[in-house]
């Protein structure tokens, strides 16, 4: 209820501002809605949205699984941490634009290049978060698992993974927003479809309603993913915590 109210407030501010600034620079909410409906009926909206979502999903899964594995490994093995740390710092501080441009130069303007470039941008933050999580693992529970001779997989699933769950959730959250921001840059620079491509077109035509139509629809989709997937996962992973009555 409070969420709806805050969204309504945002819309109200937008509408008022649009009245002052004028339709060309900041179109009113109904104007943007008209564009969304028009794009949806022509099917273009779903095509571009689908293309972008597929890229987000692929690069997100790739970066999260690889990043989590590397982060866990670096948190557990000191040597891996010492060796991997300089690479990690380099990757963390490499601007997204550089990675994307290099990927397109080296691998051509291909789908694989785009997805790899996006994944590489997300990878180091996943590594850092999961490394922190692994360092914070409770050694006394590890010892318990060792003493009771728990097989490795069972110990990982029941002792380690629940401790990492909050870190995985945090990393997924920040990752989702990061990936969707970067995917637009990759699309703008070298893909013939997707929300980023459409925004590029809108920019060339100074078509603000179109720009807002695409970016807001996509933001709405991300909001749905967050509420429908990320939050339930978090709630499930933390259901054992005693709650305030």
């Amino acid at each position: 209820m409070l969420r709806l109210l805050s969204i309504a407030l945002l819309l109200a501010i937008w509408w008022t501002a649009a009245l002052f600034v004028g339709g060309a620079k900041l179109p009113s909410p109904p104007a943007v809605l008209n564009v969304i409906v028009a794009e949806a009926t022509s099917g273009a909206l779903f095509l571009h949205l689908g293309a972008t979502l597929a890229r987000v999903a692929l690069s997100f899964v790739l970066a999260m699984s690889l990043g989590s594995a590397i982060g866990y490994w670096m948190g557990r093995v000191k040597l891996a941490d010492r060796l991997g740390d300089p690479w990690l710092i380099l990757l963390l501080n490499l601007p997204a634009l550089v990675v994307i441009v290099l990927a397109y130069i080296w691998a051509g303007l291909t789908e694989a290049a785009a997805i790899a470039a996006i994944a590489i941008n997300k990878l180091p933050t996943a590594v850092v978060t999961l490394r922190e999580g692994t360092r914070a693992l409770d050694r006394s529970l590890d010892e318990m698992a060792t003493v009771f001779a728990m097989p490795r997989w069972r110990a990982f699933r029941h002792v380690v993974l629940p401790q990492l769950a909050p870190y995985i959730a945090a990393s997924s959250r920040s990752g989702l927003s990061l990936v969707w921001k970067i995917v637009l840059v990759a699309e703008l620079l070298g893909r013939p479809n997707g929300v980023g491509f459409e925004i590029g077109v809108a920019f060339q035509l100074f078509d603000t309603p179109r720009l807002l139509a695409y970016s807001l629809t996509f933001a709405a989709v991300v909001l749905v993913i967050e509420t429908a997937l990320v939050q339930p996962f978090e709630a499930r992973a933390t259901r054992w915590r005693p709650r305030a009555a």
């Binding site: 003493v147 009771f148 054992w240």
Partner: protein, 242 residues
Amino acid sequence: MRLEVEITGKAFKNAAGGTQDVLAPIKFSLGDGEVGVLIGPSGCGKSTMLRIILGLDPDFQGTVARPPNARIGMVFQEPRLLPWRSVEQNVRLAAPAVSDAKLSELFRILELEAHRSHYPGELSLGLARRVALARAFAVEPDILVLDEPLASLDDALSGRLRDEIATLVASRPVMTLLVTHSLDDAVRLGDRLFFLSPRPARIVAEVPIGTPRDARGEAEIAAIKAGLARRAQGDRAERDVS
């Protein structure tokens, strides 16, 4: 089957770069069905010794011979339960082979039936300790290690839990190692008492208790304690002379 412990030394590196001896040479062994009790002052190195015996700390001099493939049941000083798993899951994860009947019996003896589906965060310390006991017994261990399992519980509860431990130990042949501060617990549960010195720990005295556990009434226990007190005084007198 025997547990043979022969530690010749264990040292920690301290922050200043020096080394600190935690354990002096220690040698003892434990047979099937025997309850050995380690008694010593706080911080004397008992927990370090347990970690070595359990194989958690390979960095020591000496040898520890556990029976091959011995199943270990352990009650740590803190309960060390998985907070994200229910009481029953905690026990079953450590002891996947436990039968439903056996589990029900354990929960009945330890009065945990009402808490099967609770999470450890919802339990009091006394209850959590009982879950830790249930977990250790559910694995049907060959070696049972109890690290101050009754510390910080009130007298009535620790008395009841002590009786429960005695019942469970009697129910199957298992070598048990109990670490405690309480002479009372030691005398009531132990077959052989090992008295440890302050750090670096060594065994100052090894005292076997002849009377079988179930034949120890209050009178016998008082007599054993009096005997131990005389011994301690004798030791002190001897030291004063020298």
